[in-house]
Symmetry: C2
Subunit: 403 residues, 2 copies
């Protein structure tokens, strides 16, 4: 048998999906599993999107242009303008989800051995996409005690080498829910300018900022317009992850020229997804407001509930729909597996993502988990009870505090 690729072998297993077999076994044993592990919102897709799909009257489902359908790109441009992101239609390339946008950004800008600096915990698939491009992620841990604020910019500067080609941020952040402040964004801008780096900015959660603090897009930063590559997706904001539509936005014509070659090779983004995304962009503000209000309530409910459990601590996430919580356990990988393999409370258990998968620095995240609040409040209430009971029962629980 010929050998498989080193690259493939090096690819990490998804920290979100690797425990899925254990969850499936639990379900087979008749146990109800609350999914707090995955960023799959339970909110409805906009009715307009569903209607658009249901009223497709084409006879042939053809390839669309490699850069995406023009009218969708026009609507996206208008959408960004509402956020004072001043991009033109030609700057916008439609991709198969934000996932493909990150992949093509890395492929177009980074060569094997090139480095990018990423504050962590970070969306785990950045590491996967970096491996795809042969690039190397240098990570800087942010700290739960500091609410996962941006690490001091000097820490970034220390990592800069001749191989450094860019910085990648996610704002608002998955997994931490952190929202970068103006001064943090300015510090990033200055560094990007000083070393002429790419700034890959994943802003797929922009609709979900809860504290009144402003959302600052990478495109709001002056003087680095040619360096910014914005990653976007309709997956989360319209609860339509399955349609696989995202976008890569860049004002850098050379970057776009490269990206387009990857786009042409894969021929076209999904046609029906584009039709659904376009309809979603026509949805009234009520839709997004309703989602927003729902997440605001869940967030408060979940975070309050977590912090009431003995030994558990969660900072208050400012955006997105995740939080990284500290648990009084020996090893969150073991604890999350144990929850699925051995524990149940009244026939139910919870599925959380161990936070180690969101760090590359060894030792980090071993007593943290990521929890997605994509379930209804009554389910979150049950999940909180299960977590509390589980911590009481888990042999590896260690209470370090002294109240």
């Amino acid at each position: 048998m010929p050998t498989t690729s080193i690259r493939g072998n090096k690819m990490p297993d998804s920290p979100i999906r690797k425990l899925v077999p254990l969850a499936n076994q639990a379900k087979q044993r008749g146990i109800h599993v609350y999914h707090l592990n995955i960023g799959q919102p339970d909110l409805p897709t906009p009715q307009r999107a569903l209607d658009a799909i249901r009223s497709i009257d084409r006879k042939i489902l053809e390839y669309s242009p490699s850069e995406g359908i023009l009218s969708l790109r026009q609507k996206l441009a208008a959408y960004y303008h509402k956020f004072k992101i001043n991009v033109d239609v030609e700057d916008i390339i439609v991709t198969a989800g934000g996932s493909e946008a990150v992949t093509f950004a890395f492929m177009s800008c980074l060569d094997p051995g090139d480095e990018i600096i990423v504050p962590e915990p970070a969306y785990a698939n950045y590491e996967a996409f970096a491996i795809v491009a042969g690039a190397v992620i240098k990570s800087i841990p942010s700290k739960i005690e500091e609410g996962f604020a941006l690490p001091p910019i000097e820490e970034f500067e220390k990592l800069i080498s001749p191989k450094t080609k860019g910085i990648m941020i996610c704002n608002p952040n998955n997994p931490t829910g952190y929202l970068y402040t103006q001064s943090e964004m300015n510090a990033i801008r200055d560094l990007v300018k000083k070393y002429d780096l790419y700034l890959f900015s994943d802003e797929v959660y922009r609709e979900f900022c809860y504290t009144g603090a402003p959302y600052i897009s990478a495109f709001h930063l002056e003087g680095i317009e040619q360096n910014v590559i914005l990653i976007d997706s309709v997956s989360k904001r319209y609860s339509e992850c399955g349609i696989r539509i995202g976008a890569l936005i860049s004002k850098n014509a050379e970057v776009r020229r490269n990206v387009m070659k990857f786009c042409q090779a894969r021929l076209s983004p999904p046609l029906i997804g584009q039709i659904a995304a376009e309809a979603s962009l026509e949805e009234t503000d009520n839709y997004l407001m309703a989602s927003y209000n729902e997440y605001v309530e869940r967030r408060k409910f979940l975070i309050d509930g977590l912090n009431r459990i003995d030994g558990v601590y969660s900072p208050i996430p400012m955006g997105a729909f995740y939080t990284v919580a500290q648990l009084p356990v020996d090893d969150s990988d073991k604890f999350c597996a144990w929850l699925l393999e051995e524990f149940n409370y009244e026939g139910e258990t919870i599925f959380m993502a161990p936070a180690t998968g969101f760090y590359t620095t060894p030792g980090y995240g071993t007593n943290e988990v990521r929890i997605a609040y994509v379930l209804k409040k009554k389910d979150l209430a049950k999940a909180l009870i299960i977590l509390e009971k589980a911590l009481e029962a888990y042999p590896g629980t260690v209470y370090k505090h002294n109240h």
Copy 2:
């Protein structure tokens, strides 16, 4: 401005799409352009697929499993069994088109510098996907005088080095329409076995074999089951290129394990496309028969017509819906551009793909074009007249023969 990647810069422009701007300009000048350049069938998508989409009654368009929806994979397995391709459901991984299947196959099996041998002319994006994986394509030209038959297997053997990891074939072939014979396939099998290579076999055109000669799948070859990676797509056979559904099929668990990591990183294939593909697989044989009969007629009409034009020669393609024809021109790249930029016959012109884009061996294809017969017979008739008139008018026409 930071530099873009060497890989991106090295990516070829799509030979099929690079002349699109010229075609658009021609259209703006009011000229009607017949598209013979692209494998976008004009036949209807199965009604069942359209109906399935139109009757979606979900409230949330969610991520699907990374490997694809189980019921679709089951239907695909049953479909392959009809062709005596004995694969199990677990061997089948659903991808975003055949394009993603080729990409993930290369990523999972090949490392930078690894080589694969590909007979050419070949589907141009193999080169693009090889660059994505950092792999190197070693190509062996097949010859129009030999009807693009498989080059002697000794030519393959000569190219084998310690870096050779596989052979890639497309059967029936795009762009030539060639269908490999049993003895050619056996020769490939023996080589694959002797050197323990991967056999990447792209069989997306299996439904279109016109001569009564048998279609031989790589999975029909005995003793190399662990080496075969089959590439499939519903794009062409159901005229639903826009839904972006394909498949990667392998009996090699290690390969699948790697492929699944790439699948998980990109989260999920398109949901609605999967629903459409599943419905298409339930279509009666009448649908495929009608498509087939249509292509049979067009093929005869086109090839007869081409061979009647002075100085033009096309072998008779046995499958797919393309032919590579030789033209009495100095340079087919120039001729194809000239057709769009300078020529029209009664307000109409034709868009063909210069064959140079399907070869990597320098000098090959300069007097060949690829023509897709994805237009109705009456349009093909007009296209043939335009080609004849164009050859009479083109300054670079050189008649070499003496009849």
